[in-house]
């Protein structure tokens, strides 16, 4: 039996899955106390289930996201070495940010040694400010982690935790590496406390199976392992909905997935069962990060969005949510009231909803039903317009080889899958607005929790071999080996596979039958003065987001 639990902004959904089917689902209001909410959600779901039968638990939580957006991060000190380029002071973050001398070039050659005394001074000043956690980042550390390792070695023992830039991601982007490292340092204690408390609650309930957290890339990570990189558990809600859609439907062809919630609608694209990933990393509050995520887009329109008639005689829906729909005693008319008025939804007080509709349509001379009809059409059209812009942006992504330009593989959705509370009521309207077949799966209301429950562990490695420098580096996995001039792509591939499998196992994956995808594979001959001087091999492989084998599609 598998437990999936998704903490949303207003509701926390939980599901129990047995033999590949959803056997129980429960909704619990989300309160300000995250742990209390989790405890209640667990009680509501598990009821009389024997805890010993739970073989897997997966959570999508808002702990890290909330801490970031509510600016409740711990203080973390930063030591950064840059070399030439953009001014590193522009990326200053946290209360104690120090730029020190030292430089690596794009190949990873040291062009200026790290200034040991500057590092020591920076560390003293951070400690003197009473800050116990440290982040160290150097430019091009993913090509050579030496300076970050040196800094950690020189001063790390004085800190309770040291986050290093090269361990986060093999991707190039120094400002994002700084921000992400800072978040990992500044979330360390909070996340550790959260996970300790969660483990405590689970033990209390007698739940001892493997525990996972969902990440924004739609994959999971072992709860214990997540403590090293807590920021990567932030903003997993949209990923939960994509994985839920995938679990409940399969998403053949090019599927536009819409998760229509109370406040927002999240959209994403799944191509033949594989969700599209964002090219670089997610934005968390004010921070651009290197945290891999699914490509999603969110608009401020949902079932509880405020509806009003604007001066120009046009209906405005969202982006504000004032509270519950009028029919539930809320302060403003909403699309949900429109659904109630039209009899599409049997909930709340129908006459209150109808009255609210009549009031909205009054100046235009529409009755309640006509107003409701127009609201749902307007809502669908707004979602459709946003979805078209989303798809347009996907197709405007740059490409870098002739092959890609000529292949010109454009994403063109062939169908729409809707999940979220109002899915059955709004599907027809959206299908019409987009001119595409539109469907919703069983368990559409708790799809996110299903997604969290059955998402497999993901992992990614970035390998860079440079025979001129004589090294092969896999930054995320702390691999740095010497290589000789004859190092080949085949050797790179087998090293990459081995390290990826090891990394995935550490992150909690079952080592048997991992599906590995090659995300990038390039080799360049390096020539100086018409002489071949070496080979530059670049390889990126990963376990892409997908479902655990135990899940049976459709639930």
């Amino acid at each position: 039996m598998i437990l999936g639990l998704d903490v949303g902004g207003t509701q926390t959904d939980a599901v129990l899955i047995q033999e590949g089917r959803v056997v129980a689902a429960a909704k619990t209001p989300t309160t300000g106390d995250l742990l209390a909410t989790l405890r209640i959600a667990l009680e509501n779901t598990l009821g009389h289930v024997d805890p010993g039968r739970l073989v897997r638990m997966a959570f999508s939580t808002t702990m890290a996201t909330n801490a970031i957006v509510e600016d409740r991060l711990d203080d973390a000190g930063m030591i950064v070495s840059s070399g030439p380029g953009l001014n590193p002071e522009w990326f200053s973050v946290g209360p104690s940010y120090h730029v020190v001398d030292g430089c690596l070039d794009h190949q990873g050659f040291e062009t200026k040694p790290l200034d040991r005394s500057a590092v020591m001074n920076a560390a003293s000043s951070i400690l003197n400010a009473g800050i116990p956690v440290l982040g160290v980042v150097s430019k091009f550390s993913v090509r050579n982690p030496w300076h970050e390792l040196q800094a950690a070695d020189w001063v790390g023992h004085s800190f309770s935790h040291v986050a290093m830039g090269h361990r986060i991601s093999g991707a190039l982007n120094f400002p994002r590496r700084i921000a992400t490292t800072y978040l990992n340092a500044a979330l360390y204690r909070l996340h550790k406390n959260f996970s300790d408390a969660l483990i405590h609650i689970l033990r209390e309930k007698g739940l001892s199976g493997p525990r996972y957290l969902l990440k924004p890339d739609g994959g999971t990570i072992d709860l214990d392992m997540s403590i090293q990189r807590p920021a990567q558990t932030a903003q997993s809600g949209p990923a939960a909905s994509v994985m839920g859609a995938l679990a409940l439907d399969g998403c053949e062809g090019v599927t536009l997935v819409l998760d229509v919630g109370g406040t927002t609608t999240d959209m994403s694209v799944v191509i033949d069962g594989t969700p599209l990933l964002k090219p670089l990393g997610i934005r968390l509050g004010p921070y651009q990060t290197l945290i891999r995520s699914l490509l999603t887009h969110s608009i401020g329109i949902g079932g509880d969005s405020e509806v009003r008639m604007a001066q120009d005689g046009k209906l405005k829906i969202g982006p504000v949510r004032r509270g519950e729909p009028a029919g539930f005693g809320g302060p403003a008319p909403t699309p949900t009231d429109a659904m109630i008025t039209l009899g599409l939804l049997d909930a709340g007080k129908r006459d209150v909803s109808r009255l609210a509709m009549e009031k909205v349509g009054e100046t235009a001379g529409w009755d309640g039903a006509a107003t409701a009809e127009r609201i749902l059409q307007g809502m669908a059209e707004a979602i459709a317009a946003s979805a078209r812009a989303f798809v347009y942006d996907i197709n405007a992504q740059p490409v870098y080889t002739i092959h890609e330009v000529l292949a010109d593989q454009r994403v063109e959705p062939t169908s729409v899958l809707i999940i979220g509370g109002p899915a059955p009521q709004i599907a027809g309207y959206i299908g019409k607005a987009l001119g595409l077949p539109c469907r919703f799966p069983r368990h559409y209301g708790v799809a996110n929790a299903v997604g969290a429950a059955v998402a497999r562990v993901t992992s990614e490695i970035t390998l860079q071999a440079d025979t001129q420098r004589g090294s092969v580096i896999i930054s995320e996995a702390a691999v740095e080996n010497d290589i000789d001039a004859g190092f080949t792509m085949d050797q790179a591939m087998s090293l990459g596979r081995a390290v990826l499998c090891r990394q995935a196992a550490i992150n909690g994956a079952d080592e048997k039958g991992l599906e590995i995808s090659i995300l990038e594979r390039q080799a360049f001959t390096m020539i100086r003065g018409y002489m071949r001087t070496g080979r530059n091999i670049r390889l990126k492989m990963g376990i892409t987001p997908g479902l655990i084998p135990e899940w049976k599609r459709g639930g």
Partner: protein, 435 residues
């Protein structure tokens, strides 16, 4: 979040699957480290720096400007079309007002490609800037364009294409042709009979440093631009003046390039040469992008700048001051000795053109009608050692009646001659024919 002071478009096409030959300077690896540096610096995250996706240019875009022998397909690869197309994307971004300026970092380069194309010269087949400019003129109705070619090599292809065009000011700053390929670009090359003084060559001695470049820019190039009042300034941004460049002898640095761009403020910059792929291009390109975006570039510096950069020798400074003085006299103070040209007179010239990359020898005979009313129709009879003997007739945009007529007559006459192909490029009617 960082903001660009000027919204800047980037078109990045490194063509990781294209090379002239495996060990050629123009090969797959050339922009690899530039992309590494651009990505690592996080330049694309800056608000107001927008990266665009390339698209290939069509043969119709090439036909506005080139006579390809025997045809476009024979002298281009897909990468040439995408490189030129990348410039069109940059042009659209600027002309539609989405950005204030744009930089097309594309390969292969183009500024050695002349009007008639038999093959590859100086790593170029298709002149990216010219394809772009004629696209802009066609689509956005712009007339007056200035090209400032800052590549270390003389932009002889662009000069050839705009030799007769009084609406295009072509300025090339380069290492003296007596010391570097293609061996042309001297001050006496000032434009054809209808466009005298519209071509300006500024040959600089080897070892010219940033001081010299910036002096030339300030004292000569900027005043020339002010006088011409272009609607659009294009920078042929070759980066081989760099002190680390392996095939040239100049002494420019990344910060110098950045300063030059900050001052020149081109509407569109197009990458040309630059073959110090590891220790110059990454820094120069970052500097140019930041300068175009109006950002502070004081931290942009090559790792070896402090140890390897040698300031400009004083005798070079003196030489450049004299040269600039002389050129100011010619081009800014009315000292240009023009050759009288009677209305309707047909002026002829013959020349030999060598294609170094493809080892082609071409012999050209050109005729142009002197015209006060329009840029003038011209024809080129071209023979190459590959056995082609063609006649190409060009009727310019805004051509007067007489020039249109003589163009048609030349074309008609040509079709009865012993040419392997006869081409007509009629920019007025938009007719591009080939027999």
């Amino acid at each position: 979040m960082l903001h660009a002071v000027r919204r800047t478009g980037l078109v990045f096409f490194p063509a990781y699957d294209w090379a002239i030959s495996p060990s050629h300077p123009e090969r797959e690896e050339r922009l690899l480290y530039t992309q590494d540096q651009v990505l690592e610096e996080g330049l694309l995250d800056i608000d107001g720096i927008i990266e665009y996706r390339v698209r290939p240019a069509g043969f119709e875009d090439i036909r506005r400007i080139h006579f390809c022998v025997p045809d476009e397909a024979a002298v281009t690869t897909e990468s040439h079309l995408i490189s030129a197309g990348g410039c069109l994307v940059a042009a659209d971004a600027v002309l539609k007002g989405e950005v204030e300026s744009a930089f097309a970092l594309v390969r292969p380069p183009g500024h050695h490609a002349m009007r008639v194309v038999h093959g590859n010269r100086g790593f170029c087949n298709i002149n990216n800037e010219a394809v772009m400019i004629e696209y802009i003129r066609e689509k956005y109705g712009i007339r007056r364009v200035a090209i400032v070619d800052t590549d270390c090599h003389h932009g002889d292809g662009s000069q050839d294409i705009y030799w007769h065009d009084p609406n295009t000011l072509f300025i090339s700053i380069h290492q003296d042709g007596r010391t570097l390929y293609p061996g042309s670009g001297f001050p006496h090359e000032t434009g054809g009979p209808n466009a005298q003084g519209m071509t300006i060559n500024i040959p600089l001695p080897p070892q010219t440093g940033e001081e010299g470049f910036l002096y030339v820019l300030e004292e000569l190039v900027m005043p020339l631009l002010e006088k011409f009042e272009p609607e659009l300034v294009i920078n042929s941004a070759g980066q081989d003046n760099h002190f680390n460049d392996p095939i040239t002898n100049m002494n420019f640095s990344a910060r110098g390039y950045a300063a030059l761009n900050a001052r020149l403020r081109p509407d569109i910059a197009v990458l040309e040469g630059g073959y110090a792929v590891e220790n110059a291009l990454p820094y120069v390109n970052v500097g140019i992008i930041m300068a175009m975006a109006g950002m502070d570039t004081s931290c942009v510096k090559e790792p070896n700048y402090d140890t390897d950069y040698r300031p400009q020798p004083s005798e070079i400074t003196g030489y450049i001051a004299d040269l600039v003085d002389r050129l100011r006299g010619v081009f800014l103070e009315g000292g240009l000795k023009t050759v009288p040209c009677e209305e309707g007179e047909v002026v002829q010239r013959s020349r030999d053109i060598y294609y170094d990359t493809d080892n082609i020898h071409e012999r050209q005979h050109e005729k142009i009608r002197c015209c006060k009313a329009c840029p003038g129709a011209f024809s080129i009879a071209s023979t190459s050692n590959r056995g082609q003997h063609i006649l190409a007739v060009h009727v310019p945009l805004g051509a007067c009646r007489a020039c249109r007529d003589i163009g048609s007559a030349w074309f008609e006459e040509g079709t009865r001659g012993a040419f392997t192909h006869v081409y007509l490029q009629d920019r007025v009617r938009g007719v591009y024919e080939k027999t």
